[in-house]
């Protein structure tokens, strides 16, 4: 009981302190930014002093810029990973898997179920019939161009009409595979990442010879890291039963007909399946990796931020110490304590703002750079790009300003409250 009370008290105190800190930081940023308008110490003084102590200034800038850079880079990595998987889903498509399956790899639906599905309400049709692609996924090792070692590629057996269901995918080079033949089309990232996956090439896997006949672009989604072929052929090669598929993707008549389709399919006693919107399925797939990157990145940035605040504090304290006489003179000729604090805060914010911009500019070239990692859900390799958006840059600059206030506030207060007479007498 006592221990609980103690912990409760501790948490309350911590919360109050955190709140005070946040308020101080926000107040500090606002006050510092308003300094040129409300303070009476001219801001040209700050520019001069920053220039006069350029070594210390550069050190502080680099410290904060490094932190901001790592922060933005990590977040953009997490964003990029998520964006790649989310782009793989289309709100107009529904994914059907065996009930309880958490990923396509675990699915299993029979050809009979697929046939039932084709007559379900809410499904889109065109002249070729209902728009359903029943799919099989395999994981096949191919050598990476970069290291020469094998990495797992997701090979997806699809129906020949797949391009009418995943309408965002387009053949950019060569042609689509012909049904019933050992031909492959490869995603644009897969074509770049693995050796041998270029149009015209013949490769062997699973005991068969495959002709690469085309490259497709699916708009930066995870399909760009895949290889597609005819589902029936892939089933034969992987020695799986011919009439069992792992998932089916259905193009809906309209995004609104999802519920209609889902109710019809899940209530049908002939099937035991789950229906999810394709976009939800892929968003969920990205959570493990996104969380891992965000947590690790957040931890690293937080630790670095503490270090950068120490650096900024050191710089500002040294600045205050070196300028004892200047500050005392300002006070002696009539500037108030408040004005001196504002002036120092402004200087700290100036430094950190520049640092924030420098940090963001330094990582900006990463935008769009693709990198690979393992997707835990499918055990296969996935290419994705760093995605640096405007709001991430804004967050980076804000982060820099927070570090600036934390590093500048105490030295500013110390500067303002030094007794004038003593400081003037020093040296």
């Amino acid at each position: 009981m006592l221990a609980k009370l103690f912990f409760g008290l501790l948490i309350t105190i911590a919360a109050v302190l955190a709140l005070l800190l946040i308020l101080t930081v926000i107040g500090g940023i606002i006050a510092g930014l308003l300094a040129p308008f409300v303070g009476s110490v001219p801001i040209s003084y700050n520019f001069h002093s920053v220039r006069a102590r350029w070594t210390s200034t550069i050190v502080a800038i680099l410290g904060i810029a490094g932190t901001v850079g790592v922060f933005v880079a990590m977040l953009s990595l997490a964003r990029g990973f998520r964006a790649t998987l989310v782009a793989s889903g289309s709100p107009g498509n529904a994914l059907v898997m065996r009930a309880g399956a958490t990923s396509e790899m675990m699915g299993g639906i029979t050809l009979d179920s697929v046939k039932v599905m084709q007559d379900a309400p809410g499904i889109a049709r065109d002249e070729s019939g209902p728009l359903v692609t029943q799919e099989v996924v395999g994981v096949v090792p191919f050598p990476l161009v970069s290291t020469g070692t094998d990495a797992n590629v997701q090979v997806r057996g699809v129906s020949p009409n797949v391009l009418r269901i995943r309408t965002f995918a387009k053949i950019t080079q060569g042609r689509m595979f012909a049904p019933g033949v050992s031909e492959l089309v490869v995603g644009k990232n897969a074509s770049r990442t693995y050796s041998g996956l270029t149009v015209g090439n013949t490769i062997t896997f699973g005991g068969g010879r495959w002709q690469v006949v085309g490259v497709f672009d699916s708009g930066g989604s995870s399909f760009d890291s895949e290889v597609w072929c005819d589902a029936h052929i892939l089933n034969q090669v992987l020695k799986r039963p011919d009439n069992i598929f792992q998932s089916a993707t259905v193009h809906l008549a309209s995004p609104d007909s999802f519920q209609h389709f889902k109710d019809a399919v899940t209530s049908d006693p002939r099937m035991n399946v789950d229906v999810v919107r394709e976009i939800d399925y892929y968003a969920k797939q990205s959570t493990t990796m996104t969380r891992l990157i965000t947590i690790l990145g957040g931890l690293v940035a937080a630790i670095m931020a503490v270090g950068a605040v120490f650096g900024a504090l050191n710089t500002m304290y040294s600045a205050v110490a070196e300028r004892g006489r200047e500050i005392a003179t300002m006070r002696a000729i009539g500037f108030s304590t408040w004005n001196v604090i504002l002036s120092f805060l402004f200087e700290a914010l100036l430094i950190s703002f520049v640092a924030g911009i420098v940090g963001c500019l330094a990582v900006l070239p990463l935008n769009g750079l693709t990198t690979n990692t393992m997707n835990f859900q499918t055990f296969s390799n996935l290419a994705f790009a760093f995605k640096i958006t405007f709001d991430l840059l804004l967050m980076g600059v804000l982060f820099a300003l927070v570090m600036g206030v934390l590093g500048g506030l105490l030295p500013a207060i110390r500067a303002a409250f030094r007794p004038v007479a003593v400081s003037l007498r020093e040296l």
Partner: protein, 382 residues
Amino acid sequence: MKFGSLILANLLRKKIRLLLTIGSFAVALFLFAFLGVVRDAFNRGADVAGADRLVIINRTSIINPIPLSYRDKILHIPGVKYITHNNWFGGVYKDEKNFFPQFVIDPENQRQVFPEFSVPEDQWNTFVKDREGAIVGERTMERFHWKVGDRIPIKTTLYGGGSWEFNIDGVYRGKRAQDDETQFWFQWDYFEERIPDRLKGNIGWYVLRVDNPEQSPRIAKTIDEEFANSPYETKTETESAFAAGWVKQFGNIRFLIVTIGSVVFFTLLLVTGNTMAISVRERTSELAVLKAIGFSDRSVLFFILGEALVIALIGGLLGLLLATLAIPVLATALNGMLPNLILSPALLAFGLLTALLVGIASGILPGIGAMRMRVVHALRRV
């Protein structure tokens, strides 16, 4: 240390600055240890690999099976000592978030091939007799607060689906710190009995031990040739090559970590170097007086380097101490997301060494400046 008290007095002259500089060192070393531990965690596979072990997987795809009937043929190849087989179960305990690997094992040979995992003899005997028995790694036991004797359900959608129930008969522990203690093992017989007929007789992968690791390449080649052109071609690799290939698929984690680490150290060097430079600048006249009353140029350099080294040493030790305390807590918090986080003594030693090098580097320029300083000029300045 006859100048010890002088160095100490100089250090304590600006207490806030001293604290901040030590703090910067501590933070940098903490981060260093953290990044090092994460990098090791991603590379763990290669450390745990047995030098005398080979892994055989299906050449077409790692998720495709291999027939159990290959076992005896492989065992007849000269140089093969023990062989065991595993399957990946891929089940879910209550919620998808509770991920841990479940392996179907062959109780007869598991312990000969993986001697690094130890199970108390009585627990192992119970397990062997219990068809629905399971042996669970200690970390997973702790994570879900399981006890020996518990009966737990694991849901699967593969292998005919449904919820499979297991009795926890024992706990295994790794003999080395880096061994994976998260696995869940259960019996091949139970597995084979419950799965649909069309899947029977297939295993996921073989692991074998050879008499002499130098023979591994020849044995691997013999095995793969034996099954070439069969419906199930094999791919045999040493366990470390298999693990290294797996790690490479995570992308260039090493590059990422080395980049962040260098940014941090570069910044640290600048911060401390700058602080040392300021503190030397402030003391120009004092140092000149020291030289004027007869201290040699060398001893002035020694004072300044000494100061820098003391700061680096204290800050570095503090940071590593913090890391030693915090990393077990982090490891618990991240349980299940990353392999075991282990802070190795080698990493600690390397961290401290780096801290001292940065300390020397930050003190050397101001120190040389002070050493070369002409006494007359310096005294005239103020």
